[in-house]
Symmetry: C2
Subunit: 335 residues, 2 copies
């Protein structure tokens, strides 16, 4: 590998001039610039990013930390971020915490050790310790998906209250009253907001929520399956089930199929968030989806703004909340 000294020797200038020529071509005379450039191509010089990062104290890399890179929601956001970053000469390092707090922390620390220029984080936890840890990170950063109380950083996400409310309203309109809700972990903002959307919409309509109809599915497939089963074995079954996320709703569909219930004939189903092959799942689930491309785009822009603009560090943290979209399916029947 050719080093900057090889280029300097061939161009008969000092090392510092070569460095200057690449980082700030305007400050070098046209003649020397030309000589340096031809010398560089002649020896096939490419600056060593590691050495650059060490000397500059910051790299051109952006950390992307989520709980599950396989989740298409995060996948879309990642793709948008990658494309935008690439256009601005930045490189995205994808990492997956598997939803484990310890792993997330280790990953973030590792990334900071790599002197990343910025961090896009989907927080996986909450609470004082966690907030303190996140707040201690001095790297430009944008949080998304999960709004965490106490973290004063740019946040980009969807209106989860609205998401819950929209589907509840839809089911009410169809005449449903015995509506069950499979909730996520209530300490998560997305989960509690979606639940609040359900509860308040029910209240506004003057419909009482049967406590037996609210079960906890932990946002996971397995817990969602169990929760759905608990709903389905009740003597007075709900006429509709609202899943606070995709995994739990589909687990509920599976449970219904296994018990021989037909959807939507016996029980209607609606969910928040799409899944990859939703169009071939029968019935087509009625859902509310987030505009992942838009979210990804906004995240990318905010983060690169923070990274590249000098005065951005002083700008206050900003929350950007997008409205989700209603996508009708065939999984909800009129009563």
């Amino acid at each position: 590998m050719a080093t900057i000294r090889d280029v300097a020797a061939l161009a008969e200038v000092s090392v510092s001039t070569v460095s200057l020529a690449f980082s700030n071509p305007g400050r070098v005379s046209a003649r020397t610039l030309e000589r340096i450039r031809t010398a560089a191509t002649a020896v096939g010089y490419v600056a060593d990013p590691l050495a650059q990062s060490l000397a500059r104290g910051r790299s051109k890399m952006i950390g992307f930390v989520v709980g599950n890179v396989g989740n298409p929601f995060f996948g879309d956001i990642r793709r948008e971020l990658e494309n935008y970053a690439l256009e601005h000469e930045h490189f995205v390092l994808i990492t997956d915490s598997s939803g484990k707090l310890e792993r997330e922390r280790a990953l973030i620390e590792h990334l900071i050790g790599l002197k990343i220029a910025g961090l896009a984080l989907a927080p996986s936890s909450f609470g004082a310790d966690y907030v303190e840890f996140i707040q201690s990170i001095k790297v430009p950063m944008v949080c998304f998906d999960q709004k965490v109380e106490g973290i004063e950083r740019d946040f980009v996400g969807s209106d989860n209250f609205l998401a819950g409310a929209m589907l509840t309203e839809h089911l009410l309109q169809l005449g449903h009253r015995r509506i069950a809700f499979i909730a996520g972990p209530q300490h998560l903002h997305t989960a509690s907001e979606r639940y609040r959307g359900f509860v308040e919409t029910m209240a506004s309509a003057g419909v009482e929520v049967n406590p037996n109809y609210v079960v906890d599915g932990q946002f996971t497939r397995s817990a969602g399956y169990e929760a759905a089963m608990r709903l389905l074995i009740q003597p007075e079954r709900p006429t509709a089930i609202l899943g606070a996320n995709n995994a739990m709703a589909l687990a509920a569909l599976q449970a219904m199929q296994e018990l021989g219930f037909s959807c939507p004939d016996d029980i209607s189903l609606a969910m928040i968030d799409n899944v990859q092959w939703s169009s071939v799942i029968t019935p087509r689930i009625t859902m509310v989806v987030q505009d992942t491309l838009q979210l990804g785009n906004i995240i990318a822009r905010r983060l690169l703004h923070r990274i590249t603009s000098a005065e951005a560090a002083h700008e206050p943290a900003q929350d950007l909340v997008l409205a989700p979209k209603f996508v009708p399916g065939t999984s909800c029947r009129r009563l």
Copy 2:
């Protein structure tokens, strides 16, 4: 951040001794080692990975390059690799080429610039130029999924011929003769092998393959959809469709649903590779799946062996091919 010189000063030893104490504790006297360790914790010293990589010329990072990190097949492999790597103090950098050759090349070059210790690659292309590029990479490396002619590197994958043959045999056993095949891009090893498995099994059974029943779905959802449509509008429709991968088979299912055909009553369907929510898709597709966890584990072991063992560089490249597994569903009926 505390540097190695802070530690040296506090422990009253030279910088080189501190470095030695961490990289090779055996060569330092017990007393000094103790002093250095307490000094290090006192100032909160953590070695800068960037500086280490620069000085050593190699880092503790492993590059993982695939065409689509969202694909659960790659996801499982990634997870296995990450876990195994973490146990051996290595860190996985995930990247996504979106299946684009140019992007893949740029990513690999970037990773090499980062002086990665090793590379796990799912090749996205083929041909002389590509092979030459891959061969020029001197980093320890394991290829997987796609076997590429001419690349002399460790390879880990599944027996794709067998995968195609198993499903074909299954359909023949059920009495099907008019079996259609949605093929992938034939320049890809996986695609051609799966196709070969189909053709040769048909030939062995003495059943002629109708040329109109073999269509190209490019391994993608959209091309697979079109290909399936071409099959379904023929006057003499096939009684069974075999999709060479998951995306094309599910696209075919969608096409069937849209045209009002029932699966399996009108047409049977089978596919190679699982998808995330296959258990809630009606009917449950009969398929042949790869043992992704096993694959991931083998990839991880081979790669870390190459990385950590000094003499591994001289070991010849090795191919490891696993047999896929048959998973019966409800999508194939007996004729």
